[in-house]
């Protein structure tokens, strides 16, 4: 059996930042909601990877956050992109689309 798990882990790692920015770019979300949206169609971001990533994106000035205390018994931390985050998302999106097209052309071409 050929093990491609490490390669898959690298793929997910590279994708995580774009996925998180894209999800919170649509609607302000807290951690668990981000995970639900991000992984709706397959495992992309793991629970343990998400929270440190959110922490870093916030420090890098790409995400802003606020605590909401009145929609649950415990406080939830909601994230939304800053202007810089939205700009980063736009740039990453174009790069992703170009990458996807190039990959499809090379990899999925049937003989």
């Amino acid at each position: 059996m050929i093990d491609i798990a490490p390669w898959q882990a690298q793929l997910r790692k590279g994708a995580a930042e774009l996925v998180v920015l894209a999800v919170v770019g649509r609607k302000e979300c807290y951690g668990l909601q981000i995970l639900e949206h991000a992984n709706a169609a397959g495992d992309i971001v793991s629970d343990g990877a998400l929270y440190p990533l959110l922490n870093r994106l916030e420090k890098d000035g790409k995400l802003a956050s606020r605590w909401v205390t009145d929609d649950a018994a415990h406080p939830r931390k909601y994230y939304r992109p800053t202007d810089e985050g939205a700009e980063t998302l736009g740039a990453m999106k174009s790069a992703w689309v170009a990458f996807r097209i190039a990959m499809s052309g090379v990899v999925e071409k049937t003989p």
Binding site: G48, N55, P75, R76, K77
Partner: protein, 192 residues
């Protein structure tokens, strides 16, 4: 609160103790919220939810890996900064170059300081020789007879100034390098 949750959060909190209290509390609150929401929403046993988050020490490491370099850049302790950059040097060419050049400059700084210190102790062997036979600068043994020393005791201030220049240039480089690494490569370095 069940025991595994308390244990998990306690382990995470201990592992994050180097963070400022405010940030640590915020992380713990967010993770606790995630665990409680997950168990409530999916009905999964808490053990599964904690397994998905991973070992608390691994989780803490993911938070701290980024933090260490940041701290070093902000507080600019030379040792910490050099160690933080060296840790990355095996994984990153730019980090390796910064580490190498900075280390060389620190070394030069020590040598220049040594020249200044040893001149009064062994005056005959410290200095700058520049004539048709000898070209040498530093702490030298086995000079040919009659070699002409140019600087005399001026080698002391020259050594001190050169040492300070090397030292401040190395510090500057480390700070610029550290900041650059934070910007460009921190995201590639995340382990999880």
């Amino acid at each position: 609160m069940s025991y595994p949750l308390a244990d998990y959060l306690a382990a995470l909190e201990r592992a994050l103790r180097s963070l400022p209290a405010e940030e640590r509390t915020s992380i713990i609150t967010e993770i606790r919220s995630h665990i409680e929401d997950s168990t409530a929403a999916t009905g999964k046993p808490i053990g599964d939810v904690l397994d998905n988050l991973g070992d608390p020490l691994e989780l803490a490491r993911a938070y701290l890996d980024q933090r260490k370099l940041e701290d070093a850049v902000v507080h600019s302790a030379h040792g910490t900064l050099l160690v933080a950059i060296l840790e990355r040097a095996t994984r990153n060419v730019a980090a390796f170059a910064f580490a190498l050049i900075s280390a060389l400059l620190y070394l030069c700084s020590i040598v220049f300081m040594a020249i200044a210190v040893f001149k009064p102790i062994i005056p005959g062997n410290v200095g700058l020789w520049w004539d048709s036979h000898v070209h040498a600068f530093g702490i030298i043994y086995g000079l040919p007879d009659g070699a002409h020393e140019l600087l005399g005791y001026w080698v002391v201030p020259v050594g001190v100034i050169a040492a300070i220049l090397c030292y401040s240039f190395a510090s500057k480089l480390m700070r610029v390098g550290g900041r650059q690494l934070l910007k460009t490569s921190a995201r590639q370095l995340k382990q999880i």
